[in-house]
């Protein structure tokens, strides 16, 4: 009702609230005009009275001339229905239902009726219509300037709607503006312009004045240029520079249109026009791509298409103020999806009213800007996020890695010899396995009390730099020279290794160095913990030695208690005995292959069997291996 007064200051509205007979509360409104209303021809409009038991919905809705709802309304029928319309819908004043001078009811514009009368011609018109600016071929005065004297006082939408109602041809006004008391706009098409002129004096305004429409041929309006004139761009750029705070990386384009610098230069930066917004975005891209905050409030923006470029040209943009604009639906925000906004202002846009409650508003906005933390100045509640980062899986664990068969045989051969001595009860012969300058150290897990107890034989020689800080002790516990190495080895508990359990990883292999890690289990064969199963991880670094052997230069041993699993699976295969470990199940050819292989390779039967098994008892491969070993 307030809006009513604004545009029709000379009308008074009195609302009567009545309790109707059957239908509950009823609101009746009386519209009367007050004061003198001199009309041009003495015509006056008296606000009609409305009576009746109808409930009235008071809602303001702008309607375009081709609003489908209109078409369904019965045409030409006078009556309260139209009067309701008049009161409620300020914009859509059904002026066409006001009696004109000759008393006939004016028909509302109905595109279909026109089409029926004139066939396809209307569609031609529409194609070529006033809405099409993109075409070229403009002659000098190919456009028409339409002027509405005293049009400044009218609401633009009301005026254009009213004119459209009266104009038999749909028109699209270009560059509507007011100048002095006039309202004016441009039309491209002569036929449309002429049709519109016929609407002159067909409309009577609220004061009773007839609305005049004048037309004048004119050159195409400069507003149509798709690019700003260079000097306008320069002024715009200068203005933007003034409005840019480099310390905060903020650009404030609030109400840019009324910027005094631009106004004084006659630059009219209507940001709702693509040409201006494009220019602004380009200036940002070229000059301040580091932009973080952008304020575009109060610029009558109704779409954000041009801003989409900011996604790439201003990648650091985090805060955007779009408040006090004309953004109608949440869909306009889709254009900015990709901007990593943290802070957004949207209030005072029509789109805000479209949500039934705040949570739905927030989630609609968050859908486009998932990282948003502040909306309209309010801190947002933390979003519920499902961590969709797929948990990577660990690669599957595999067994021994030798790198090459040659190395495999070399190492297996070596280990077989080494541990047969190591487990023999006298480790002294191991001197032959070590280099003069070899080093050895051992370590064990220190934290677990059980292991400290069960591994106490190893404890006093255990070298854990995490807990051992004294440099002398650190030095002392590193055994250097083979004599010292083997001396310590001899002191360690006697063992029985489960060779079948061995896993071997070769980490490095060069011409001079072979480094590999052996892990497996062994048993204590005497002492307090006889038959206790231990697990170990041992790093050997060796250099080549004569007769295709290895010579150890570094040896590091890590010992721990075996797990239940390890204990259960340990020593599943019978320990190798010097005589034979032929599995009776082997077929005769296999037995033969096995004994030949063992003879040729120098490995015992158990190792030989293992190698052959690994190669699927393939005689050809076995032959190749013989050859290699021989060489």
């Amino acid at each position: 009702m307030t809006s009513f007064r604004k545009w029709y200051p000379n009308l008074a509205v009195v609302a009567h609230v009545q309790v109707g007979q059957d239908e509950g509360v009823v609101v009746q409104r009386e519209v009367t005009s007050k004061g003198k209303l001199p009309g041009e021809h003495g015509d006056r409009v008296r606000g009609p009275h409305f009576r009746g038991g109808r409930k009235v919905q008071c809602s303001f809705q702008g309607r375009e001339y081709d609003d489908p709802a209109r078409r369904q309304r019965p045409r030409g029928s006078p009556g309260p229905e139209h009067l309701v319309h008049f009161e409620d819908n300020i914009v859509d004043v059904s002026v066409n239902n006001i009696r004109s001078q000759d008393g006939s009811w004016q028909r509302r514009f109905d595109p279909y009726s026109w089409a029926n009368q004139r066939g396809d011609w209307r569609f031609d018109r529409e194609r070529r219509g006033a809405g099409d600016y993109a075409g070229g071929g403009r002659t000098k005065d190919s456009w028409y300037k339409m002027t509405i004297p005293y049009g400044k006082k009218y609401n633009k939408k009301w005026l254009l709607t009213a004119l459209q109602n009266k104009c038999s041809v749909p028109f699209k006004p270009v560059h509507y503006q007011t100048e002095g008391h006039k309202a004016q706009f441009y039309l491209e098409d002569a036929f449309t312009a002429h049709a519109l002129v016929r609407a002159s004096r067909q409309i009577t305004d609220s004061e009773g004045y007839k609305v005049l429409v004048l037309m004048n041929p004119c050159p195409p309006p400069s507003i149509l240029n798709t690019e700003l004139k260079p000097q306008d761009t320069a002024w715009l750029k200068q203005c933007m520079a003034k409005r840019f705070d480099s310390s905060q990386r903020t650009l404030d384009l609030n109400q840019l249109r009324s910027d005094p610098d631009l106004v004084s230069q006659n630059v009219c930066p209507i940001l709702s026009r693509k040409i201006f917004m494009d220019a602004v975005v380009k200036i940002i891209e070229e000059n301040i791509p580091e932009l973080v905050h952008l304020n575009l409030s109060n610029n009558k923006l109704y779409q954000l298409d041009s801003l989409a470029d900011l996604i790439t040209s201003a990648p650091h943009l985090k805060a955007l103020n779009l408040s006090h604009n004309q953004l109608k639906t949440e869909k306009v925000l889709d254009r900015l999806k990709g901007l990593k906004l943290v802070d957004l202002w949207l209030e005072h846009n029509p789109l805000c009213d479209q949500f039934k409650d705040q949570p739905s508003y927030i989630s609609a906005v968050r859908e486009r800007f998932p990282q948003l933390v502040k909306l309209d100045g309010y801190d947002l509640p933390l979003p519920i996020v499902f961590d969709v980062v797929a948990t990577s899986t660990i690669p599957p664990c595999k067994g021994s890695y030798f790198g090459s068969e040659e190395i495999m045989f070399l190492i297996l051969h070596f280990l077989q010899q080494y541990f047969s001595v190591y487990d023999s009860g006298d480790r002294q012969p191991l001197l032959n396995a070590y280099h003069d300058g070899a080093t050895f150290s051992l370590s064990q897990p220190s934290s677990q009390s059980l292991s400290r107890c069960l591994l106490r034989e190893y404890h006093k020689d255990s070298r854990n730099l995490k807990h051992l800080k004294d440099p002398s002790t650190r030095f002392r516990l590193l055994k250097h020279t083979r004599l010292n190495v083997v001396a310590l080895l001899n002191k360690l508990p006697k063992t029985q290794h489960d060779i079948a359990s061995f896993n071997i990883d070769v980490n490095t292999h060069t011409s001079m160095l072979l480094s590999f890690t052996v892990s497996g289990v062994f048993k204590e064969v005497e002492g307090a913990f006889q038959d206790g199963v231990r697990a170990f991880s041992r790093v050997f670094i060796a250099v080549p030695a004569g007769n295709s052997g290895l010579c150890i230069v570094n040896d590091q041993l890590f010992v721990r208690i075996a797990t239940m699993e390890e204990i259960c699976s340990a020593f599943a295969t019978p320990a190798p005995t010097p005589s034979s470990s032929l599995v009776p199940a082997l077929s005769t050819p296999k037995q033969e292959m096995l004994s030949t292989f063992s003879l040729k390779s120098g490995m015992n039967l158990e190792w030989s069997q293992k190698c052959l098994q690994d190669n699927n008892w393939d005689f050809n491969i076995a032959a190749q291996i013989f050859t290699q070993l021989k060489n």
Binding site: T391, S392, T393, I394, P395, P396, C397, K398, G399, S400, Y401, G403, H435, D436, G437, A438, T439, S441, L442, S443, Q444, P445, S446, S447, R463, N464, L465, K466, P471, R474, F475, L478, H480, T481, N503, D505, V506, N507, T508, M512, L513, S515, T517, S519, A535, S537, V539, I541, A542, V543, V553, N554, Q556, F558, R560, T563, E565
Partner: protein
């Protein structure tokens, strides 16, 4: 074969290796846990890794491999270190670093591990302290077969 001087050299060599290995393991596991993307910088270009029997070599492959591992939380409980005999390294100063402890990979249960590295010293353009890089890396869960 160890002269007095030689022993002294060896002793200081051992002392230094202990310190280097401590420093190195701190950096390595911190990187592994918190800055995984920068981990490959600690490796030589042609470094090799054997990870539970999976062989990976070269910076590119290493980078991909570490990227594919879930995030980790390492807890090193045992550390030992030996200077590698120069015979094996042809004069290039090398350390053997051996670690053991526990690791929890995101989405998996905590497991015990054994790991050892061969570190080689490379001359640094900016200081007289060498830059240590991993030439080889061998890692295995203690219960890898389960």
């Amino acid at each position: 074969d160890s002269t007095g001087k030689g022993l002294l050299d060896f002793r200081s060599h051992v002392d230094a290796s202990c310190r280097y290995s401590e420093e190195f393991t701190n950096i390595y596991y911190d990187c592994m846990d918190k800055k995984r993307r920068t981990l490959t910088r600690l490796y030589l270009d042609k470094a090799t890794l054997v990870w539970n029997g999976n062989a990976v070599s070269g910076q590119a492959a290493l980078g991909e491999f570490f990227e594919s591992l879930p995030s980790s939380e390492f807890s090193v409980q045992t550390l030992d270190c030996q200077p590698v005999h120069e015979l094996a390294t042809q004069g290039q100063t090398t350390l053997l670093v051996v670690t053991a402890g526990q690791v929890k990979f995101d989405g998996h249960k905590q497991r015990y591990f054994n790991q050892n590295f061969l570190l080689t010293a490379q001359a640094s353009p900016t200081s007289d302290q060498p830059v240590w890089k991993i030439a080889s890396d061998c890692f295995r869960f203690q219960d890898w077969s389960s």
